[in-house]
Amino acid sequence: MRVPVSWLREYCDPGWDSDRLAERLALTGTEVERVSHAGAPSSEGFVVGRVTGVGPHPDADRLSVCTVDTGDGERTIVCGAPNVAAGQLVPVALPGAVLPGDVKLKKAKLRGVESDGMILSESELELGEDSDGIAVIDQDIAGSSGEPARRRAGARLARPGPAHRARPGTPLAEVVAVSDDVLELEVTSNRADCLAIYGVAREVHAISEASLADPPWSEDAEAAGEGAAVDYASVTVEVPELCPRFTARVFTGVTVGPSPIWLKARLVAAGQRPINNVVDITNYVMLLTGQPLHAFDLAQVPDGALVVRTARPGERITTLDGVERSLESDTVLVCDREKASGIAGIMGGAASEVSERTSRVLLEVATWDGVNILRTSRRLGLRSEASARFEKQLHPALTMRAQRIASRLLIELCGAKLVPGTIDAGEEPDPIEVTLRVPRVGRLIGLEIDAETCAARLERLGFGVRRNGDEIRATVPPERASDVSREADLIEEVARLGNLDTELPSTLPATRERIGRLTREQLLRRDAEDALRGIGADEIVGWSLAAPDLPERLRLPAGDPRRELVELSNPLSVEHSVLRPLLLASLLDAARLNLARGAEHVVLFESGHAYLRDGDRAGGELGGSFSGGHPAPVYEPHRLAYLASGEPPQRWRGEPVPYDYFAAKAALEALLGRLGLASEVEAAEQPFLHPGRSARLLVEGAAVGWVGELHPLVARDWDLAGGAAFEVDLAPLIAAAPSGGEPYHDVTTFPAVYQDVAVVVPDDVAAARVREVVLEGGGELLRSAEVFDLYRGEQVGENSKSLALRLSFQAPDRTLTDEEVGERRAAITAALERIGGSLRE
């Protein structure tokens, strides 16, 4: 909403400059996006002049030499406009004035004749595109209704007819805003009343306590036309639930032409393009009151019969912007007997548009169902000044306000006659009353405000107020009806006018029953993330949104539950139309981006949700089981995933460690180690992993994730040469983690016995199996057995391998004897025999 400050001040002027005005509005709930400027940088040097003589220029046919009375005497001004004539009141820029665009005017010789100023055209005033002729101040066409009508129009309705007040020398700013600040308001969806100049003025009044002019609709126009409105037109509302009120007035003898410059100036400053006086009046009244209007050329409406109905199946309409649009069954149309004329509340149609030939006008001012308007305008992708107001649900009482002001302006500016009577379909609901218990204000906001102050604030906002001690009964003004219906709403109104920024204390909640802490799960999740960071991985935040071909790209076979994607019904693009069923995809995307941008390698991890249609929700939030009465609609487990890819960094000594299965497993082990978990994996395939270099992670016997090298085809699809990754569910890891609850074992009182052994086993026996068997054979006394070397070669023969293990024997209650250790070794040897292995001496 653009609010020209000069227009605003006409109704309420607190004497603040525009910046202060903007600041106070912002601090009381009306956000000001910016304060911009319209017209010339300053109004200094712009005056009204009267052309007293026009003579030819001695050396130029197109120029004339005028004498102009500018109050301080007559001056010679050279003018190129064909329409200049003696007797006209015209806008004049004197030497020294700065024109829009920062051009400073100087005395200048035009083809030999010195011009002492400039008579301005509309384009020079930035009021329109008309630069052919000068703007003439008194050439409005109100003549037919005569001066008395204009006087009746009253000081606060519009600028008084300039001709009455303007004299040579009158500062031009008193006639037309040559230089104006414009407040660009960002109005919240509950405040349709601030989409109106008078509404903003009321707000300024409430904030500043400066006086507020009477509403511009307080006086109606004189109905001097013949007959009655119903003789000219009829209105049938077929859908009263979508059109709570439809009012129409009829005007005869309308002369359509350009609007006077004061009106044009206001529309332009408010961001509207002047069209003709009738249309300009409807726009002007909408800007003033917040209630949109629509003018019909009554001659173009067969029998003057208007019908409000919803669209028929397949119905189409061409709107004023020249676009043909197809309509839905709940689109409300304003129609004549034959066809739809416009989309109700959003945009009129071309057929009954007011034109220069129009002499009879039907003025529609209606109330529409806001939700329906919002829906329709969204669906059609068609927003207008009107729909922006209607969608916020206007009150039916506003219609007659607009009719009254528009009637007076049509009479004044278009010479129209108002036909008696208003066609009025629908009715005005009774005003609502809301009770405010004053102590509730202090209780809610933490600052006592007395009843008198509360009442005064509400009154300034236009509420009818009856006070009974600490109880205030407030009648809600119609323009606030959609926003204020409860006590809390009144408290807000009272509070927001109270200089919250300076008066409200800053306190902390006094409630004692509260404890802030991270849960065990939250702490361990941090530990898990930190473990991966600790081994050099960079955390990413990947897109949850993915493309639907992801399962194909990951080679997921039919029947894989991860093919059953959670799909969006209204995505912005195909690329972001489903939710990722696993985190790996995000890591692959990030790896590709970085390698394409010149990185030689990436080591990445992510901590976040995967999205599946269903799953086993165990383990609280991390396992997709959240607070609340209704479960989450899809299964969103929290996962950790890791990917290393690219050329591993060359170091100045030692060999680069390749990003292979074991690199990913080391990362996984770092994570598990941080949580205090043992690494237990078994060979298992994933469609997107190398079939011989992939495994599943087991926690308490259940698979909770995978680790492995990327399948070359998958790597290739992401432009990667290879890489290794893992992805694990965090909930079961953390559930199993002893972290924080580890029991103590005595390992210091009695010494341990260390022995390195080499175990020769057939090639196909997994290292984990060897270790398991060794531990089994070692029994309780064997505290640990770690594989530290692998050898294949002549010494162990074909199809066999030798694994070196470091064994540590220890007892908590005694020093072990050689005999005891020897016994355990024998038992280990025996156990190994069962899997075809032997100890190499």
Binding site: V541, H609, D614
Partner: protein, 379 residues
């Protein structure tokens, strides 16, 4: 005899002083103090001397022996230290080479880092941290937050909806039941039943369903809005929600809490300012600002120029807040949230926005691009 002893002492002292290495010194020890050394022999044979000489000779011999031992020891320490010094001077390395193997240090994403900071501040203020689902039912995201069907605010935050066909029957039925239970005039159509949450606020209602007042929670998490990607919009972003509900929570408490939170993030001198605003689920509603930390809220830099961060205003908008709307409590009244008795505040803000302000990032897209050159700037 005593003369000879003193002579040996003199000779040895001189030789020890001349010794140039620990090896040479060891030779001297053997020569003068060893089993076959002359002094040792003299002392061993002291019994063979006449009785009157035994005492003085023994005394002189032992004195010389002790003094030589001590001389050798101290000379040995000197030589040992010198020899180590000499060896060290030859063992120097180029200390500017990288560690080996280089111990890599990774980086938390800036969102995670900022989220953790906020969590810590909130925990310190007595809040617990909760998380909620990102795919949410319409009831929690809108209806129970006082956005009735067709409410403009509901459409304003353009939302992503989940296609009903990709939901399990059970999920769909549960979402329908929630919607129907809310007593909407028109039941929400199936294709608007499940939404990618547009804010973290749905957890307000979930949390109040799960436990009664008093309730102090903060909820970080991902949110989604149907915004086209540009420098200031992302369809996926992160928010933190705060909710404090008890019998006596006030708007002034909200201001104090915001101030503490903003001080935790932006530094001890910061102030919070609230401007009335509108949100359907709070009444009164406010937007809140932090006093600019570049110009200290003055709008002017030390050189007198306009502060570019706050655009000369002295305040930077950071989030939305307000007192929980009684209608919201109405949805959980059965859980102890009687709107006549219970009141509270809620606030929310974007994590990315905070991080951008804190670190001067110019473009939201940097958060989802995951360029390691950007990630690695924040350790």
């Amino acid at each position: 005899m005593i003369e000879r002893i003193e002579q040996i002492g003199g000779e040895a002292t001189e030789a020890i002083g001349r010794a140039a290495s620990t090896a040479e010194l060891e030779e001297l020890r053997v020569r003068y103090l060893g089993r076959k050394a002359e002094l040792t022999t003299i002392l061993r044979r002291i019994a063979e001397l006449p009785a009157d000489q035994r005492g003085p000779v023994g005394k002189a011999g032992n004195e010389v022996r002790r003094s030589l031992e001590s001389l050798i020891d101290s000379r040995a320490r000197e030589l040992d230290a010198a020899e180590i010094e000499a060896a060290l001077s030859e063992e120097g390395v180029d200390v500017t080479l990288p560690g080996s193997p280089p111990h890599p240090v990774g980086h938390l994403h800036l969102v995670t880092r900022t989220r953790r900071r906020i969590e810590e501040i909130m925990v310190g203020l007595g809040y617990r941290i909760l998380e909620g689902p990102e795919v949410e039912i319409d009831y929690y995201n809108f209806t129970a937050l006082n956005h009735p069907a067709g409410h403009p605010a509901r459409m304003e935050q353009d939302s992503f909806y989940v296609a009903p066909g990709s939901l399990t029957k059970k999920a769909l039925e549960s979402a329908r039941a929630a919607s129907a239970g809310a007593g909407d005039d028109g039941a929400t159509p199936d294709d608007e039943l499940v939404v990618l949450r547009t804010h973290t606020s749905p957890m307000q209602v979930r949390a109040m369903e799960a436990e009664g007042p008093p309730l102090f929670i903060a909820v970080p998490g991902k949110c989604y809005r149907r915004d086209t990607i540009d420098a200031t919009h992302l369809p996926m972003f992160h928010q933190v929600e705060g909710l404090a509900v008890a019998e006596d929570i006030t708007l002034a408490d909200l201001q104090g809490t915001l101030r503490e939170m903003l001080r935790g993030l932006f530094g001890p001198g910061r102030e919070a300012r609230m401007r009335p605003h509108f949100f359907p689920f709070t009444e009164p509603s406010v937007e809140f600002d932090v006093s600019c930390f570049r110009c200290d809220g003055t709008g002017r830099l030390p050189d007198g120029s306009r502060c570019g961060l706050c655009k000369g205003i002295g305040w930077i908008e950071v989030g939305g807040a307000g007192m929980v709307d009684p209608n919201v409590f109405g949805f959980v009244a059965a859980n102890g949230y009687d709107p006549e008795r219970i009141q509270g505040f809620a606030f929310g803000f974007g994590i990315e926005r905070m991080a951008m302000l804190l670190h001067g990032l110019p473009d939201l897209r940097l958060f989802v691009e995951n360029d390691v050159r950007v990630l690695e700037q924040f350790s």
